[in-house]
Amino acid sequence: MKMNKRKGFGISIYIVFVLLPIYWLLIMSFKTNQEILGALTLWPQNFTLANYAVIFTDPSWYNGYINSMIYVSMNVVITLLVALPAAYAFSRYKFVGDKHLFFWLLSNRMAPPAVFLLPFFQLYSSIGLFDTHIAVALAHCLFNVPLAVWILEGFISGVPREYDEMAYIDGYSFPKFFIKIFIPMIRSGIGVTAFFAFMFSWVELLLARTLTSVEAQPIGAIMTRTVGASGIDWGVLAAAGVLTIVPGLLVIWFVRNHVATGFALGRV
């Protein structure tokens, strides 16, 4: 029991460490720029929602969130759609070049993004996808798909092959088995994978910014407008920052149990 108390204390300290910077961002978003730059205050002296009002009343602001959410969702869907069969193949079959393909997929996470930006821009422009959500979604697949395949492969390996065989024996065709039987069985894995895909797509900015100009502009790019030749609009920046956390919070809320229990079956 003593142990548990010590643990509780330790984890509390760590969570405070995690939350403090976020707290600071949060209270900043409720302060006026005047107060932010003036004396240091631990909570807003003149509580204001004006910073949020700026974002919520201006479509060119809030559209950024919508754009980001659109391409992130598209990315999650595409990632899962292509990664599931591939992970299944890697987990169940041996085929020419499998291990090399796997490592090659993984190696795409290792390519430094900066230099690939211009080719990416050229590539998507040349097929007329510049400034579309799908372009960003596809580009993010580059680093999300390999990870998804990796994670899912672990989960799928945790499901005995007998399930597949039994389904075939029962007369299921592969697609039908996959959709009706298999996917529900590894839904925790899918939840976890979706979480990771969401996470890495949501936080990425370089590619998203390069591949868009107006119609699909991500929030991260719009946020930079708080920095101008006449100073930084700290309050709005903080409010925008706080709002970028919200979708993530919702997602983690939905997959929390999968993350806790899901991995038990998975790659680990």
């Binding site: 460490f17 910077p21 240091l40 595409i78 990664a83 690939f116 080719p119 990416f120 949501w202 993350v259």
Partner: protein, 288 residues
């Protein structure tokens, strides 16, 4: 479980292959093409052969940032992996409190990287940031923008703040996957807390740790946005890592050819390290 040899599995992998090949191979080939030319715009390029590679390899600034990069990645791994394991061990194992911990811990992971940089940039400032202010209040002369040591500490602290939850999350789920019987057996065998960790938890965390270490290595080796927003690589070039040098070159100066050569060298380094690591781990598993 034995895998069935069947080349038809390629059909299942094909979508991934096409998708990734489209997004990876074409740009990669383009980058290779760029790397032997001095590019100024469409149709205005000058063939330079391997000059860029030579320059990149012999450039002292780049070597210095490579060195810093390795130090940074090593530091990140050395801090975050043990800390992440520690946090995972401390997390409540079940129930509402477990979920709550999980959600709170995951927050930093879900914040866009530029916002992470911004948060710490503010948080660390001596005048308007709680952290910098508090340190100065208790008499520590802290200024992350002026002092190299402080800058490093802050960049590391930020990275630890940002990414330790990932390690913790992975480890947490890894720990959940250990059957209760192992703890029972250890208890029966009169194992100490340390022995339980050393002989039960740690070995069973190995596969998640592989993921964690690989991800953390790759991502920390390519870290750009957060330290750029935080310190801009300064003071001087003390926190200028490879990726920042590269990004400045590629999308600041649009010095595409040189940047391409640079990034290929960079890519080869990451590839080698990751491959060595990957191979070492997978082969250790097989070893009798």
């Amino acid at each position: 479980m034995n895998k069935i040899p069947d080349n038809r599995a390629w059909w299942l992998v094909l979508p991934v292959f096409i998708l990734v090949a489209f997004s990876a191979l074409i740009p990669l080939m383009t980058v290779v093409n760029y790397s032997v030319q001095d590019i100024f715009g469409p149709n205005s390029a000058y063939f330079v052969g391997t000059d860029w590679f030579r320059e990149v390899l012999q450039n002292e600034n780049l070597q210095a940032s490579l060195g810093r990069q390795f130090v940074f990645s090593a530091a990140v791994l050395l801090i975050e992996i043990p800390l992440g394991i520690g946090v995972a061990l401390m997390m409540p194992t079940s129930g509402r409190r477990g979920s709550l911990c999980l959600i709170l811990l995951a927050i930093p992971l879900l914040i866009p990287w530029n916002v992470v940089g911004t948060i710490w940039q503010i948080f660390g400032r001596g005048d308007i940031g709680l952290f910098g202010w508090a340190l100065n209040e208790i008499g520590i002369n802290y200024n992350y923008t002026g002092n190299t040591g402080d800058a490093w500490a802050t960049v590391l602290l930020m990275d630890v703040w940002h990414w330790t939850p990932l390690v913790a999350l992975l480890c947490y789920s890894g720990l959940r996957a250990i059957p209760e019987a192992f703890y029972q057996a250890a208890e029966i065998d009169r194992a100490s807390r340390w022995a339980i960790f050393r002989y039960i938890q740690l070995p069973r965390l190995k596969s998640v740790l592989v993921i964690a270490v690989l991800l953390r290595f790759m991502d920390s080796f390519m870290i750009y946005t957060e330290p750029f927003v935080l310190t801009g690589g300064g003071p001087g070039s003390s926190t200028t890592f490879l990726s920042q040098t590269l990004t400045t070159m590629a999308i600041g100066q649009f010095d595409i050819g040189r940047a391409a050569a640079f990034s290929l060298v960079y890519f080869l380094i990451v590839l080698l390290v990751s491959w060595l690591f990957f191979t070492a781990i997978t082969h250790l598993d097989k070893e009798k």
